[in-house]
């Protein structure tokens, strides 16, 4: 209780008005160091002997794929996890064998977790000044809380209604509240865990500007991300983790996309546009003059067997709306859809599935699984009806052959399909999702943003699967925001703007710049 009270007094009055003093004093020597930090969970070595050193006023990027040990490292800094013996933590010249959450906060380490750790049922001011509730039983001084919150908001130029409930704020505003909270407790090291994952481009820019401002005030910042472009924009130094091992600390200026990817994955990914001619292949899906008021207008498109058609455009250009109509979820007002040259009426997604059309919404690849169940059960879940025997039970033999087919077709790396999906790597899990859909034997596969939120190596896995499927004769429509994605993994590219198709390209005859221009111009 006494310790907690002492912490509360240090935490609560908050805002360091001078700010810059810290930076001047310790600019040269690192303020926060981790030496030979290791962590083992059961049989898994999450971190092995990682070193990292942070100077005041430095923006340091921590990069790594999912499962590379980033989160564990952050938890050790926050005192939530204890490192294995042998390592040490040096903060401001003092050595600590390990930290506790309160000790870490007292020393000025603040972590903004990916989920922000806010209290949605409380107001903005209370969330920011939540540290004032720490310590021995005391009555709440709402005026002091308001002062702390206002000062914190002013210090980073944020204006939010201090009484507004956090549950009524947008994601970007909530992020600001989380940052204000870190500021209110006088952070000297601010760790931001994938802060940009749910923000729009505009909001990301505002966040990056804020990062610079904090840095000028002498706050050391760790920025965790796997979006490479952002890493480059904001960081001075970059530490890369792979499988719990530090790949080294680099100056941001000497880092390139290519090199960072190689460091993170241990592999080099180099893509070139596809150069395939599908002119002779049969037409599978065709739309002529397709329109739906307020969504898209006069759309002509064709996809042949084995072909990958990329569709790109800004958010709101009508891409997803078009895909939904092709999948029967919404009905067009005009025009026609043909499958194998026959006009079809798709009144529901059931009709579409009946015509061999499959649709994977955004996120489906990363969230479409029952991870605790076996690989096999996941693969057959969408075709259970077809596997029933005369008693209405699943026939063991047909189940086995369906599972075997899925595992073989998609090269899922497992010694036993009865293992839980959670035993698979990310990339292999995504193959299971695709296997699940392919068990319905579609002829057209529509993928909406198939690689959103997926790290580099897993992306590569998805591309490989898509290419394999196309090679087997599936017609693929891939909708994506990312220019390189459509450029390197489609045969033809349609650009949509304001509900219409504004450009149509042959993927092997267009450059990334031209495509960029077409999307934004």
């Amino acid at each position: 209780m006494n310790v907690a009270a002492a912490e509360a007094t240090r935490l609560s009055p908050a805002i360091d008005a001078g700010g810059g003093g810290v930076a001047a004093a310790t600019a040269a020597a690192p303020w926060f160091e981790l030496h030979a930090i290791s962590k083992r969970y059961g049989g898994v070595q999450a971190l092995s002997s990682v070193d990292i050193a942070l100077r005041s006023g430095e923006v340091h990027c921590l990069c790594g794929q999912n499962g590379s040990g980033k989160s564990t490292l952050i938890k050790i800094m926050a005192g939530v996890e204890q490192p294995d013996t042998g390592g040490r933590i040096v903060i401001g010249g003092k050595v600590y064998p390990h930290l506790t959450p309160t000790a870490s906060m007292r020393l000025g380490v603040q972590v903004i977790y990916q989920d922000l750790s806010l209290f949605p049922n409380l107001g903005v001011a209370e969330n920011i000044a939540i540290g004032q509730h720490l310590g021995r039983w005391h009555t709440v001084d709402r005026a002091a809380m308001l002062r702390t919150a206002t000062a914190a908001m002013r210090s980073i130029g944020v204006a939010l209604d201090p009484q507004a409930l956090v549950s009524t704020l947008s994601i970007a505003q909530r992020q600001l509240v989380a940052i204000c909270r870190a500021m209110a407790s006088d952070a000297r090291l601010l760790v931001m865990d994938e802060p940009t994952a749910s923000l729009t481009r505009h909001e990301v820019d505002a966040l990056l500007a804020l990062t610079h401002q904090l840095k000028d005030r002498g706050v050391a910042i760790i920025f965790v991300s796997h979006r490479l472009d952002e890493v480059m924009e904001v960081a001075e130094r970059v530490t890369v983790l792979r499988d719990g091992v530090s790949q080294g600390c680099f100056d941001a200026t000497e880092m390139t996309d290519q090199r960072l990817t190689t460091l993170m994955t241990g592999q080099a990914f180099h893509y070139t546009p596809r150069r395939l001619d599908h002119g002779a292949a049969p037409m599978v899906l065709e739309a002529r003059g397709l329109s739906r008021a307020g969504e898209y207008e006069d759309i002509d498109l064709q996809v042949r067997a084995g072909e990958i058609l990329g569709i790109t455009g800004l958010l709101g250009s009508g891409r997803t709306e078009l895909a939904l109509s092709l999948f029967g979820m919404t009905q067009p007002d005009g025009g026609e859809i043909r499958v194998d040259g026959q006009v079809v009426a798709l009144r529901s997604n059931r009709d579409a599935i009946g015509h061999g059309i499959a649709y994977l919404a955004e996120d489906r690849l990363s969230h479409g699984l029952i991870v605790a169940q076996s690989i096999g059960s996941n693969i057959i879940v969408s075709v259970l009806d077809e596997l029933l025997n005369g008693f209405g039970l699943v026939a063991e033999r047909s189940r086995e052959s369906a599972v075997r087919r899925g595992v073989d077709d998609l090269h899922i790396k497992t010694d036993n399909p009865d293992n839980a999906v959670s035993t698979l790597s990310g990339g292999n899990q995504q193959r299971v999702v695709l296997a699940k859909w392919l068990a319905t034997r579609p002829r057209v596969l529509i993928l909406d943003s198939p690689t959103v939120g997926v790290d580099v190596a897993a992306k590569d896995g998805i591309y490989e699967v898509i290419r394999t499927l196309a090679a087997q004769g599936l017609a693929v429509i891939m909708i994506s925001d990312e220019i390189p994605e459509v450029l390197f993994h489609s045969d033809r590219i349609l650009v949509m703007a304001r509900g219409r198709i504004s450009h149509s390209f042959d993927a092997s005859r267009v450059s990334a710049d031209e495509l960029q221009e077409a999307v934004h111009g």
Partner: protein
């Protein structure tokens, strides 16, 4: 004034208040007895048991849990405390102390089970409810206690006003206990660090842990408090009905839960207030009292109560969706 209005506009408390006043006005006109000071006093006295329990339960709901076992707890404390009193061991102070401390201990058992086993509180407390009732029934063979000490049956009276005709207006045990529990709970939840920690924990338990709040101790406090309050309420009840039966309180937990939720508390934790809870209790009490005065049979009045609860919950769910929809729209 404008600020106060802005903060109250659209709250569950204001809606309840409006409905309550409307129903009250109708009953006032329709039935001569309803508005009398005596009837209002009687209603308050007879609702005190529910209201005290509701206030305790509010604390648990705000903390993100739920307690189903408090009526069983109250049955035990009632029985034990008054058995001891019957043997001549206890006076008022001892009686209250036994009931409150025993109740708190039974509440702590819930807290320990919920926190150490990491199980959902509804399941744990359904189990302890059965356990507590079972223990009580086994120990007492289901025997009622009809004869209570005379000093207990006489109750407590604090006369605060004598009118011109020599009529006394007095506060009784029920009303004083209710006022104390509500006042304390309201103060604790809104004005103290502990109360705000409880709100925070109910809103986002993981974040509360990360911020450094003593989540384990808060749970002990919340369930312990619920138990203690149940102990106090059990005496309030026994004094009112002038007897103790081990099965008298079976089923009361759901009435109480309904009143708290009607009062705007969220079953997901982190939301609720003492005024809202009191209004929830009052609405149900007024409805029942009014229907009785109107001569409606108890079957129909139960149906009516059920309908009101359902309507209120549907309305709240509808209201609750709106802010979320808005924040989504802003994010997009």
């Amino acid at each position: 004034m404008a600020e106060t209005w802005r903060r109250w506009r659209g709250t569950q408390e204001l809606r309840l208040m409006t409905v309550l006043l409307a129903i009250g006005a109708v009953l006032w006109v329709a039935t001569p007895g309803f508005g009398s000071a005596q009837n209002l006093m009687d209603m308050l006295t007879s609702s005190a048991f529910t209201a005290i329990l509701a206030t305790g339960l509010l604390m648990v709901l705000v903390a993100g849990g739920v307690d189903i076992s408090f009526a069983a707890t109250a049955s035990i404390t009632q029985y034990v405390a008054l058995s001891l009193a019957n043997q001549g061991h206890l006076g008022w102070v001892g009686l209250l102390l036994v009931a409150v401390v025993l109740g708190a201990l039974l509440g702590l058992v819930n807290a320990l089970l919920v926190t150490t086993l990491g199980l959902s509180s509804i399941i744990v407390t359904i189990a302890t409810q059965s356990l507590y009732y079972g223990l009580l029934m086994a120990a007492t063979n289901g025997q009622d206690i009809f004869a209570l000490p005379a000093w207990f049956n006489d109750g407590l009276h604090w006369v605060f006003h004598v009118d011109a005709h020599g009529g006394e207006h007095a506060l009784n045990l029920q009303i004083v206990a209710l006022a104390l529990v509500c006042g304390f709970t309201g103060w604790l939840l809104t004005r103290t660090s502990i109360g705000r920690q409880i709100f925070a924990m109910g809103g986002n338990p993981e974040a509360a842990r990360r911020v450094g709040f003593p989540v384990f101790r808060l749970n002990l406090l919340v369930y312990g408090f619920m138990g203690a309050v149940a102990g106090l309420a059990s005496l309030v009840h026994a004094q009112l009905v002038q007897s103790v039966s081990p099965s008298a309180l079976v089923g009361r937990e759901l009435d109480v839960l309904a009143a708290v939720v009607l009062g705007g508390a969220s079953l997901n934790g982190g939301i609720g207030s003492v005024p809202g809870t009191l209004l929830g209790v009052a609405l149900l009490a007024v409805l029942q009292n009014g229907l009785t005065l109107l001569g409606v049979s108890s079957y129909w009045s139960q149906l009516c109560t059920g309908g009101v609860i359902l309507a209120a919950v549907v309305m709240m769910a509808h209201q609750g969706r709106r802010p979320m929809a808005r924040s989504k729209a802003e994010a997009a």
